[in-house]
Amino acid sequence: MADVHPIQVIDLSKQFPRKKGLGTVQAVSGVSFNVQQGEIVGFIGHNGAGKTTTIKCILGLLKLSEGKISLWGGAPADSKIRKRIGYIPENPDYDDSFTPMEYLSMFASMRGLSGVDEDWMKLLKRVGLARWETTGIRQFSKGMRQRMSLAIALQSNPDLLIMDEPTGGLDPIARKEFREIIIEENRRGASVFLSSHILSDVETICNRAVILAGGKLMAEGSMEDLLGEEHLYRITVVSRKTGEEVEETIPEADLQNRIDALRRDNLPIVKVEMALKSLEDVFLAATGKDSQ
């Protein structure tokens, strides 16, 4: 099993019937990718790109229209495989008549874990809910519910963490804490599949990224490959109309032509510097939307 990928998605397609039987909506179309052992893979895309649909297919919550998904070579529905997964759903919620400690105890029992209250206290402390262990979840904010979700996902020391927008409702400090926990879990040996809108998070912690748009795979590769394919340069010129400095980012291949053109137009070039390519640039290029 060691050489089998934790997640392997082959030609996944998912259609949903429209309301009143008026045909179908293609949510995901022919998507293939994998998550290898020990990787942190970022899964990025616009709203409605098909990220959550893909994750729910991976977890067996949605039936596949076409394609195949295997987790460590087995079926997602296999209970032994499911025990190895920790999952943070998008906008998680819990029955608000319980406290975090009650929830963790019950989830532990359902998962057949042998931990005691002390272990769950440590876990709550780790996710920043130490002072809230006996507070009803009904009093929790969105961010606290997400921390709760993280605690439940980490409870079984999973081999695979699947996270759907885990840092969406969090403040910058909480996001940093989340990132640190994800990295710690990865160092422990867990593979991580992280769906996120926050590209800086993905860029910071992920080894690879899978970019989805309109239900189709637009790009996939390691961060080095995605960010390092070509260099970008930033040229600063003085605008003839306003007299203010204006920046322009262009690929290396176009650099000389652009400088020549600016000189022909007698536009004063203030500086030319290498611009670090961000995941946002890659994402916008891959999904066909330019920030300009």
Partner: protein
């Protein structure tokens, strides 16, 4: 099965903390107290009257509890997304369904036993004898309640709670009808109506309030057969509910 057991307890605790349970229980107990307060014609009739209507009240209570406790369980779990963390990892769909069912069934049984106790207190208050078959009769109503609960679960996987209530109530009413009464709904197709009635549940097997009120003894084997029938029908309804649930996409 440990996961089912734990989830049943979780469901039980959740339902115990909701106001719905206590509201319905209060309504049933008030209705029972109201029945006892109705003046009777003579002393020998009063016991019969209180028992007959009291057991009927408990039976309607079983329906109200089934609907009140379970009609909104799955739809609410989906709407509030509490379903996702449960189904995605620790529980299979059958474990979720059985856990929710057993949790609700236990609390429903406890609530019906409380109403039976209430009826006993009313009988004692009026210095009326408590028949020995009152507890077994309540047990049969509990089994009927479980059947109704499984029906509510079945409907909840493809209807909304406002539709679940009339559908379950309709099945409850039909299940009380004799074959001749049912054929009377559509007399032009007696064969078809007979066949349909045979397939539909026969909740009349759970009703022994008349013989009890009139002081007749019930054979123990009757209780066993009625309980077996009720449990089999509940299992059948849950199996169909599971088949529907398994075919559902959890968007």
């Amino acid at each position: 099965m440990k996961a089912v057991f734990t989830f049943s307890l979780m469901t039980l605790r959740m339902l115990f903390r909701k106001r719905t349970l206590w509201g319905i229980l209060l309504v049933i107990l008030l209705a029972l107290a109201g029945i006892a307060a109705v003046p009777s014609f003579d002393v020998s009739n009063q016991g019969r009257f209180v028992l007959d209507f009291g057991l009927f009240g408990i039976e309607v209570g079983a329906l109200l509890l089934a609907l009140g406790l379970a009609a909104n369980l799955y739809p609410r779990d989906r709407e509030t997304r509490t379903l996702m963390p449960l189904i995605a990892v620790p529980l299979s769909r059958w474990q979720y369904l059985l856990g929710r069912f057993f949790g609700a069934a236990l609390i429903q049984a406890a609530a019906l036993l409380v109403t039976c106790l209430g009826l006993m207190l009313i009988l004692l208050f009026h210095k009326l004898p408590i028949p020995g078959d009152l507890l077994p009769a309540t047990l049969l109503i509990i089994v009927e309640g479980w059947f109704l609960l499984s029906t509510v679960f079945f409907f909840s996987f493809f209807t909304s709670p406002p539709l679940n209530w009339p559908l379950t109530t309709m099945l409850f009413i039909v299940s009380q009808m004799s074959v001749s009464e049912f054929v009377g709904i559509l007399p032009s197709a007696p064969g078809l109506m007979r066949a349909v009635r045979m397939l539909l549940p026969h909740a009349d097997v759970f009703h022994i309030k008349d013989p009890i009120a009139h002081g007749f003894e019930i054979e123990p084997v009757y209780f066993l057969i009625a309980i077996f029938y009720g449990l089999c029908y509940s299992a059948f309804m849950l199996s169909v509910a599971l088949a529907v649930f398994r075919g559902r996409d959890l968007k």
